[in-house]
């Protein structure tokens, strides 16, 4: 009897210990999700205050990866916006881009978003979570009210509206177009002119590969440097509305017409045209590969000018050219349609947008364009009100291209949700290394997009 009861007790203890152990393990897994308040439920109906008052500072929350915006803000605060900074001192916080969404969500639920904050596209498009809460200032209206609407360029305005489905929630701190940066020296050494069609580009890549030069630099860690190839091929082949039709559920990414672009990029990978060991190659390493002269081309946005205009560039800015992505024969898209964006979204919180913040915004709108071009060689969506002299050849080329661009298109992931965005980038290395078929790649993205 006793031994039976001892056995029972031991068994009970063993089960209890097992349960506690498992609970402890899972508890650590769940603590993070549970530690945040459920208070978000009650915040839907919050309205934008008619007359917001300023906070104690010009509080800014940006991603750690964004080095250009904080540098520019500091430059303005110590220069032309000194008076505004004295009234509302600049205070910048940065957090890794991977955590920015979670941080924004928690700050929003606590009604504690800073005056200027980096945010994800889905939250700030019309109907997005932050827009519904009244946490997003309409920049177009705000600039009009301040009398500086003309300081946002028409291209920036139309690109922003396309990017955010009709809304203007973000300040155009950059005005980027995307295309192919290429090494003029390498092209000249092999007697190759800039390709006008995609088959020509592939033929050129074959020549470079044979000569032991990496044809195209791209990063697997930042897989969007690969997935953009799929997007731009879709725009060239199916026309500027290719991705809009997917967003409107009128077309499917895994249909044969869309699949073709992924197949072509996968084939490029198979032919060894992308950086070797691409899977874990970082963005900085891929850029360094191009700026060290080890590769012939890199598909990139014009934000690359910041690196080209820095000491990182070993090729020399005069040896770097910029060309539009070539045409696909028989395609409905045009070589003059550049994928464009106004940089990663930076939003103003209307709840702390008082008179001092308005003065800051006015100063930014009037001065950002010139200051950004002068100190970083980067174009913004704000007008360059003071002429900037001494621009190098590649910067002038990009400036002329932006000024002459007649029509812009979005980029591959622009209208994707958060998960599809991540999957497009995360699976791109597998697509070009053959670890994933084009059907699987596009199938995953289509499944993500089909989710409610």
């Amino acid at each position: 009897m006793r031994s039976h009861s001892v056995g029972k007790t031991r068994r009970a203890l063993a089960v209890a210990a097992a349960g506690m152990g498992a609970l402890a393990v899972a508890g650590s897994a769940t603590t993070a999700s549970a530690s945040s308040s459920i208070a978000g439920r009650a915040t839907h109906a919050r309205q934008v205050r008619a007359h917001a008052s300023d906070g104690s500072s010009f509080s800014v929350l940006l991603t750690t990866e964004d080095s250009q915006t904080p540098a520019m803000l500091k430059q303005l605060a110590n220069g032309v916006c000194k008076t505004e900074n004295k009234a509302l001192p600049l205070s910048i916080q940065q957090t890794p881009s991977q955590n920015i969404e979670a941080k924004d969500q928690l700050l929003a639920s606590q009604n504690d978003l800073p005056l200027l904050y980096a945010a994800g596209n889905p939250d700030i498009i019309p109907g997005g979570a932050f827009v519904k809460r009244g946490d997003v200032l309409n920049v177009e209206t705000a600039l009009k009210a301040l009398g500086v609407a003309k300081d946002m360029t028409p291209l920036a305005l139309s690109t922003t509206k396309a990017q955010f489905q009709g809304g203007v929630p973000s300040l155009p701190f950059q005005m980027n177009i995307e295309g192919l940066f290429y090494n003029k020296k390498i092209f000249a050494a092999h007697h190759i002119a800039t390709p006008k069609t995609f088959p020509q580009l592939l033929a050129d890549a074959a020549v470079f590969k044979k000569a032991g030069i990496i044809p195209v630099s791209a990063s697997g860690s930042s897989g969007w440097t690969i997935s953009r190839w799929v997007g731009v091929l879709l725009f060239r082949e199916l026309g500027p509305n290719a991705m809009k039709l997917v967003a409107q559920k009128k077309a499917k990414l895994n249909s044969p017409a869309y699949l073709r672009a992924a197949e072509q990029v996968a084939q490029m990978g198979k032919d060894g045209y992308f950086s070797p060991g691409i899977s874990n190659l970082s963005y900085n390493a891929a850029v360094a590969q191009f700026l060290d002269g080890k590769s012939a081309m890199m598909y990139m946005g014009t934000w690359l000018l910041a690196q080209i205009n820095s000491s990182q560039d070993k090729v020399g800015s005069s040896n770097i050219g910029f060309m539009p992505f070539p045409a696909v024969p028989g395609g409905r898209g045009s070589i003059n349609q550049y994928p464009a964006n106004t940089g990663s979204p930076n939003v103003i919180n209307p709840h702390v947008y008082g008179p001092k913040a308005q003065a800051w915004l006015k100063c930014i709108a009037e001065n950002w364009g010139s200051a950004s071009l002068k100190s970083q060689g980067v174009f913004s969506g704000f007008r360059t009100n003071q002429p900037v002299a001494g621009l190098n050849a590649i910067t002038r080329t990009v400036q002329n291209t932006i000024n002459s661009a007649k029509q812009s298109v979005l980029w591959f992931e622009a209208l994707f949700g958060l998960k599809a965005n991540d999957d497009a980038s995360g699976n791109a290395p597998a697509l070009v290394t053959g670890a994933m078929s084009p059907q699987q790649y596009m199938g995953i993205l289509q499944a993500d997009q089909s989710q409610p």
């Binding site: 056995g7 031991r10 063993a14 089960v15 210990a17 097992a18 349960g19 152990g21 498992a22 609970l23 402890a24 393990v25 899972a26 508890g27 897994a29 769940t30 603590t31 993070a32 999700s33 549970a34 530690s35 308040s37 459920i38 978000g40 439920r41 009650a42 915040t43 839907h44 991977q98 955590n99 969404e101 979670a102 924004d104 969500q105 929003a108 639920s109 979570a129 932050f130 519904k132 946490d135 697997g220 860690s221 950086s275 070797p276 060991g277 691409i278 899977s279 874990n280 360094a288 590969q289 958060l418 998960k419 999957d423 995360g426 290395p429 597998a430 290394t433 670890a435 994933m436 995953i444």
Partner: protein, 294 residues
Amino acid sequence: MRQVFGNRRAIAFFLAPALLVYVGVIVVPVGWSLVYSLFTGSPASGFKFTGLSNFGALFSDPTISQSFWFTIKYAGFLTLGQIVIGYGLALLFKFVLRRSSTFIRTLVFFPVVLPTVAVALLFAQLFAITPQTGPIDSLVQLFGGHPVDWFVSGGHAFIVIMAMDLWRSVGLFAVILYVGLLDIPDEVIESARIDGASGFSLLRRIIVPMSRPIVVAATIFALNADLKVFDSILALNNGGPGTATTPLNLYMFQESFDYNNWGYGSAIAVLITALCLVVTLLVFRSLRRDLTKG
């Protein structure tokens, strides 16, 4: 001492602080997660009760199935490695190196104290192919092989993850098991030797049975720790390529905080809880007899 343990007030006094912390830090969040799993939404957009729909979604999500089996495979292989190699090292410390094992023990234990992210970055470089060829691929080339892109597929990346996490953690298990071996009385071993046991028979008939309780404890400890792997894989390759090496914990984090699916993320957390409970019970069940004997 018997008086103290017979006094309920004394028991409550000693247990209450630890119990309070445990309940506050572990039990409440687990319960909270269970509640979240019945809702959809995020802090900014608000939450909406959706019943068991998040659990239903677990069955139709292909990534969950992939993550689930990856987690099982990872925990199974790593625990096996940790216990077998750790036990081997413990035997080496106790019976071969004996008193001079201090230096070797320190060396073997050293990776345990290194920050996980630093170890992951170290291994990313060790197995890199570009921009510089890492030491591993250099060795492959030295022996006439072609350099390997170790992060090109889930299978290749799994090898790197195993090597990294074994190197990082095996020292801890070696020390835990070594302490267990020290608990075996020298007289017992001596008697067995006098009775003619030596080498493998001594190990099989005396050492292993007598060290079984510590092996069981270490196995449960290892399994539970391995089932919740997160930081090392996040820092090494973020669960890539794609989601090929994404464990459940990392997927839960991505769903909750990257994609704002707090309810679905919590449902995954509940799945992890259930998995840990089942695995721990299975280990206890399969070794219960020996445990009570030990």
